[in-house]
């Protein structure tokens, strides 16, 4: 016999237990329909594993446990599953929960089941799993899954097993009667727990208002081999609270927020122990329990062994309900229970009592008065809290402070409300505060999660932007590098300047060659003449004269002829070049403007080159004009010719530079981001148009097929199939249409916002490019014609030209020059677009050139004849 300690506070409400202890436990009648809620315990609800219409047997598992904190549920009787759906469940909210409804067939036929032969042979885990599979949850009130309570692991060493048989709440006698009638079975259940937990001491705590139960248990434990005690504790509410009973029996206080296992104690309700016995020794799942039906509203208050899922109405009928006298139906005891409104609510594993209270028993509570700070609540609080402070904090929603005052240690026993002289519904305040705090915590968790997700998304987007920027940068660098490389390659080996030099050299060589030929010819002629002339002195003089003449001619020809030839070409070239330069300049300026707008890299460089080009172009035109002027004034003097040559070279260099710049610009423009986006846009547009076209095609086809179907009227079956296939197609088409539309719209939008200028520019650029090409073509043509002309002129023996003939010839060339100049001036005045005019002028020029060369060739023959005749 152990010592009994005490806990703080407690009250002594009228017990009202005697009414229901007069009769033994009866079997409740089988209800027609059983509603078995999927959630009858703390934790995760079970998941239905049967379907409507299934035949089930008594004890068959109809709901699987979901995870650790869950237990399965079983059919309480045999029958058919008639519904799985919402049905009112025992809950203070009076709301519905998911239930499996079974229409009983009255046979009450058990599924095959059998006892565990020898539970001692099983390992702990197997035994615990077995208990879980039998659907056992705490039957004292909270309904904590029993298996979880027994699964202690290595963290806890248990020295005491407390069996809670206090049953302190008024009216309830379910455990009392159970102990009176089935004490040996209870001790059998304790055997199982003893084997599982192996405590050094087992204590059954029972209130001293149940002497019969006490004696029955005493008798039953006589044969127990282990250390077991039945201890009678003084009747005081709420000694049946887990923590309070532990303190009463062992004087150990369960720490705040801890579980009894933390102090080496496991506490099990006597009803749970009985269920474990039934499960282990008979193999029966938890499908029934003892329920007290009592109160002034029933004739025959009694305890019933009731199947889980039996509606309250069935029990009330069995106990002889007097409907007029029932003012309030309460599930659980009057202190901690809750009232219900629907009598169709089924009984669950945790329902220990139904109180059909009359008006006298439970009068309507008096209205609450102001708190007078009497402190009675503090004196009765079994959890040693400050109910008054909690009340103030709960009322003003100071939840943080309420938590600081250990609101969550409140067991909601209702002792404070019971003693409150002002009738303040204190427990209701605490419950409200608790649920509010839980809700806040839930929201906090949710908002933390939302923050996490938001930040993750933000990071992801940022990363995408960074990557894009990095890519763009890399691309720009690449372009810059390639450009630089191109420039370098242009500058170095195949410089057009060198080309020109080469050309000039070639020309010079050709001229030398011609001179040589001319000299040869002359010597030949001279020798032939010399032999003919008899007068030697005269002949000599003549020869000398001729020789000197020849030398002069030679010199002049030597100096002038190639000049003349190239002068014609150069003037042309200059003209074209100037025109080109102007075009390029315009284009370059445009590109610059665009580039500045787009703030493309290398703008400065571009600008520099453009200014340079500008200068060069103006220089070139200046030089050209100078050259022209000089050409018009040009006499045979060599200095001027040399000057012209120099100028020509300079012009040629400028021209080549211009060409280079042009190439560069062309490149620049194509690597330009604007044009790139333009390209992309056009591509997008094309892409967008593609699905649209496909869509239109598809629609047309569809329509065709539809018309075909209508007209051809194929067999019924195929038609049906066709429509079947057509309908998803239609859906796909719809989707495609929406997408295509948005894409098209997007592309158009982008085009509208970005493109107009660029488009213009690009077309202009392309126009310009084509113009340039045509120009170049013309140049090549003219050059070719010139070369032809030159060839014809080259083969003429122009050595013996007289000075007068040369002059006239020169005059002709001059006229040619002036005409070319006029044409050029025109072209310049009209700027780049005046290509056609230029072309005409060039044609004219070439024509003149031809004429001039023809004249030259015709001239040279008569002179030679004249000279020698």
């Amino acid at each position: 016999m152990g010592k009994v300690f005490a806990f703080h506070g407690g009250i002594h409400p009228p017990e009202n237990k005697h009414q229901s202890t007069q009769l033994p436990i009866a079997k409740a009648p089988l209800s027609k329909v059983l509603h078995i809620p999927l959630q009858q315990h703390i934790g995760v609800a079970a998941k239905a594993c049967v379907e409507v219409g299934d035949k089930v047997l008594k004890g068959q598992c109809i709901g699987d446990a979901q995870g650790h904190l869950s237990v399965p549920i079983h059919a309480s009787s045999s029958g058919t599953v008639c519904a799985i759906g919402e049905h009112p469940v025992p809950h203070p909210s009076g709301m519905s929960g998911l239930c499996i409804s079974i229409e009983t067939d009255g046979e009450d036929r058990w599924i095959e089941h059998g006892a565990l032969e020898n539970f001692r042979a099983l390992s702990e885990l197997e035994l615990i799993d077995y208990i879980r599979d039998r659907g056992i949850a705490g039957m004292g009130g909270a309904g904590f899954p029993t298996a979880l309570k027994l699964q202690l692991g290595d963290k806890h060493i248990i020295n005491t097993l407390v069996i809670n048989a206090a049953e302190c709440e008024p009216y309830i006698t379910a455990d009392d009667l159970l102990m009176r009638e089935r004490s040996t079975q209870i001790v059998g259940g304790i055997d199982v727990l003893q084997h599982l937990i192996k405590p050094s001491h087992v204590i059954i705590g029972i209130e001293d208002n149940k002497p019969q139960a006490f004696r029955a248990l005493k008798a039953a434990i006589k044969d127990c081999a282990y250390n077991i005690d039945v201890i009678s504790v003084p009747t005081k509410y709420p000694s049946g609270g887990e923590k309070q009973l532990i303190q009463l029996l062992t004087n150990v206080e369960v720490p705040n927020g801890g579980i009894p296992a933390d102090v080496g104690i496991v506490c099990q309700n006597v009803g749970t122990v009985y269920a474990i016995y039934r499960a282990v020794s008979k193999g029966e799942s938890l499908i029934s329990r003892i329920v007290t039906v009592t109160g002034g509203g029933v004739n025959k208050p009694q305890n019933y062994e009731t199947l889980i899922g039996t509606p309250v109405s069935t029990l009330l009928q069995a106990a002889g309900e007097i409907q007029d006298r029932v003012s309030k139906l309460i599930i659980g005891g009057p202190m901690m229970g809750y009232s219900i409104t629907s009598i169709e609510i089924p009984l669950v594993k945790t329902t220990n009592c139904i109180v059909a209270a009359s008006v006298n028993e439970m009068p309507v509570a008096d209205p609450a008065q102001a708190c007078i700070r009497c402190g009675l609540c503090e004196q009765v609080c079994p959890a040693q809290l400050l109910p008054q402070q909690l009340h103030w904090f709960a009322k003003s929603q100071e939840y943080i402070k309420a938590q600081q005052h250990n609101l969550f240690d409140c067991i909601e026993c209702g002792a404070c409300s019971y003693v409150c002289p002002s009738n303040i519904p204190l427990v209701q305040y605490y419950r409200h505060a608790k649920t509010s705090i839980r809700e806040e915590q839930q929201e906090k968790r949710k908002s933390d999660l939302a923050r996490e997700r938001f930040e993750a998304k933000h990071k992801r987007e940022q990363r995408a932007i960074d990557e894009k920027a990095a890519k763009r940068k890399a691309r720009a660098e690449q372009a810059a590098i390639s450009q630089a490389a191109k420039k370098l390659s242009e500058n170095n080996p195949s410089s057009p300047v060198v080309d020109d030099e080469q050309q000039l050299k070639n020309q010079l060589n050709a001229a030398k060659l011609k001179l040589q030929q001319a000299q040869d010819h002359l010597t030949k002629l001279a020798s032939s003449h010399g032999s003919q002339v008899s007068d030697s002195a005269l002949a000599e003089r003549q020869v000398q004269h001729a020789k000197s003449n020849l030398a002069q001619i030679e010199k002049a020809v030597d100096d002038f002829k190639p000049q003349l030839a190239s002068a014609i070409v150069d003037v042309k070239k200059l003209k074209i070049g100037a025109a080109l330069a102007n075009t390029k300049l315009n284009k370059a300026q445009q590109a610059l403007k665009k580039a500045i707008e787009k703030s493309q890299p290398g703008v400065e460089q571009l600008q520099k080159t453009i200014t340079m080009l500008d200068q060069e172009a103006s220089n070139a035109s200046k030089l050209y004009q100078k050259a022209l002027r000089k050409n018009t004034q040009a006499e045979t003097d060599t200095t001027e010719v040399a000057e012209t040559k120099r100028l020509k070279i300079a012009v040629a260099i400028a021209l080549s530079k211009l060409k280079k710049a042009q190439v560069q610009f062309a490149n620049e423009e194509y690597s330009d981001a604007a044009s790139a986006t333009l390209f992309e846009l056009t591509k997008q547009l094309e892409k967008a148009e593609q699905p649209l076209a496909a869509l239109q095609k598809a629609t047309a086809e569809n329509a065709n097929s539809a018309t075909n179907k209508n007209s051809v009227q194929p067999p019924l079956k195929t038609r049906a199939r066709a429509t079947e296939t057509a309908s998803p197609d239609l859906k796909v088409l719809k989707t495609a249409a929406a997408i295509a539309r948005t894409k098209l719209k997007k592309a158009q939008d982008q085009l509208q916002t970005l493109a107009p200028e660029d488009q213009h520019n690009s077309s202009a650029v392309q126009n310009l490019l084509s113009e340039i090409k045509s120009l170049e073509e013309k140049v090549r043509l003219s050059q070719a014609s010139y070369v032809k002309a030159k060839e014809t002129s080259d083969f003429e023996p122009s050595v013996i030209e007289s000075a007068s003939v040369r002059r006239t010839h020169y005059n002709k060339i001059l006229a040619l020059h002036t005409k070319a100049m006029a044409a050029l001036a025109k072209a310049e005045a009209d700027n780049s677009p005046a290509v056609t005019k230029m072309r005409i002028s060039i044609d004219k020029l070439s024509g003149k050139l031809k004429a001039a060369t023809a004249a030259l060739s015709s001239d040279s023959i008569p002179t030679s004849n004249k000279d020698f005749t």
């Binding site: 102001a370 708190c371 402070q389 103030w392 904090f393 009322k395 003003s396 100071e398």
Partner: protein, 193 residues
């Protein structure tokens, strides 16, 4: 030793700076809405009071007296206090940003807390020694902290209580302060100093 104890009892209870001498009422009413804030304020003020009491003693003894500048004591004490408060603010901002935010303007206003300057000046007036100044300053700080924390704890409870609407807020605070002051007057005669 008993001298120090007497000084301590005298400053904490009998001549409590807030409730008996009515110095430093500004933070007493201003930062007593929440217990946590009041505790932070108490710690800050205790630190400032003790340090500034010591510093002002040293400045007075070794700077003002030798140069016969005692007529400058108020201005130099204010300087000392301002420096100590500034230093405290930096420490608080670093160690407890939330307290810094909550104390807000009251933290720099410790400078103008008349209890702080009062302690420094009373030290001189009473011709306290170095140790006595320390104990005097510390005692004053403890007295201030005690009054402030008690008052804020009461106010927290009053805040959630049924107070007739005309008395809600500052009014009931004033009444509470008055009642507390009355209670502290009961200590007079406990020690004669």
């Amino acid at each position: 030793m008993s001298d120090f104890l007497l000084i301590l009892v005298s400053t904490v209870l009998v001549n409590n700076f807030v409730l008996v001498q009515f110095l430093g009422l500004c933070p007493f009413m201003g930062v007593s809405n929440k217990l946590e804030t009041a505790m932070g304020m108490s710690l800050a003020t205790t630190f400032v009071l003790t340090i500034s009491s010591v510093c002002s003693y040293l400045v007075h003894q070794y700077l003002l007296v030798p140069f016969s500048l005692t007529y400058m004591k108020t201005i130099s004490f204010i300087l000392v206090i301002a420096v100590v408060v500034q230093f405290t603010e930096m420490v608080v901002r670093k160690t407890s940003p939330m307290l810094h935010k909550v104390l807000g303007i009251f933290l720099p206003l410790i400078t103008t807390n008349c209890a702080v300057l009062g302690v420094a000046l009373l030290n001189i007036k009473k011709m306290n020694s170095f140790m006595e100044s320390i104990v005097f300053g510390f005692g004053a700080a403890v007295g201030f902290s005690m009054a402030l924390i008690l008052f804020s704890a009461i106010r927290e409870r009053v805040a959630v209580a049924d107070v007739p609407s005309p008395f809600k807020g500052a009014a009931i605070g004033m009444i509470t302060a008055g009642l507390m002051s009355l209670a502290f007057l009961g200590f007079s005669g406990l020690v004669k100093i």
